[in-house]
Amino acid sequence: MLARIQLLTPPRRGQPVQVRLLVQHPMETGFRFDFSGQAVPANVIHSLQADYAGRTVFKAKMGPGIAANPFLMFWILPVENEELRVHWQDDQGQTGQISTRVQLAPA
């Protein structure tokens, strides 16, 4: 699954930095029907997790109420030069992940 992750500002120790995440996914609700009248099975990214510096810093549980190609914004507190790893799973069991390096700017 294609995804983009971005830290909005250069991370500095102890200063919260905004993380923006965009994942390419249809987030199929399960309420739609195709042209032959068959219900399209629901397929949404139901859980997503962000790990950084040895702990889970952000968790999201999502449903069909999230728009297609889900966008998420959250904040983290930079403490160390480490990867911020985000991974997620959808209803079909497919997983995706993306990571970005939190490189502290010299104080």
């Binding site: 905004q18 029907f33 950084y52 702990r55 999201a60 109420g65 999230i66 998420l72 507190l77």
Partner: protein
């Protein structure tokens, strides 16, 4: 505090942000944020977990809305208390006009 545009042209993708005035310290932080809709077929849109390592108690996403409504955020702080905030949003085109 929940913020959305007052008027959304299209219910398929409405930006929503939830900001809580919290120090986000180890003894006083936001633990959980739930986003609810009044009119969607599934009222629970999303649930987020934060902590003192978030630095700021703010999340944002884009949601589907089935018509004009008030959307609500429920926030649980580290002392176990729950808080709520709402935002009124007018949707001209619902997300639930499907191909059927």
């Amino acid at each position: 505090m929940v913020t959305t545009p007052r008027l959304a042209d299209n219910g398929l993708s409405v930006p929503v942000s939830i900001r809580v005035d919290s120090a986000m310290q180890a003894d006083d932080h936001v633990r959980r944020v739930m986003l609810l809709s009044n009119r969607n077929p599934r009222p629970l849109i999303a649930e987020f977990e934060l902590g003192p390592w978030s630095g700021k108690a703010e999340v944002a996403t884009r949601v589907r809305l089935n018509g004009s409504q008030e959307i609500m955020a429920l926030v649980q702080t580290s002392d176990g208390r729950w808080w709520q905030g709402t935002a009124e949003v007018e949707v001209t085109e619902s997300a639930c006009l499907d191909a059927s």
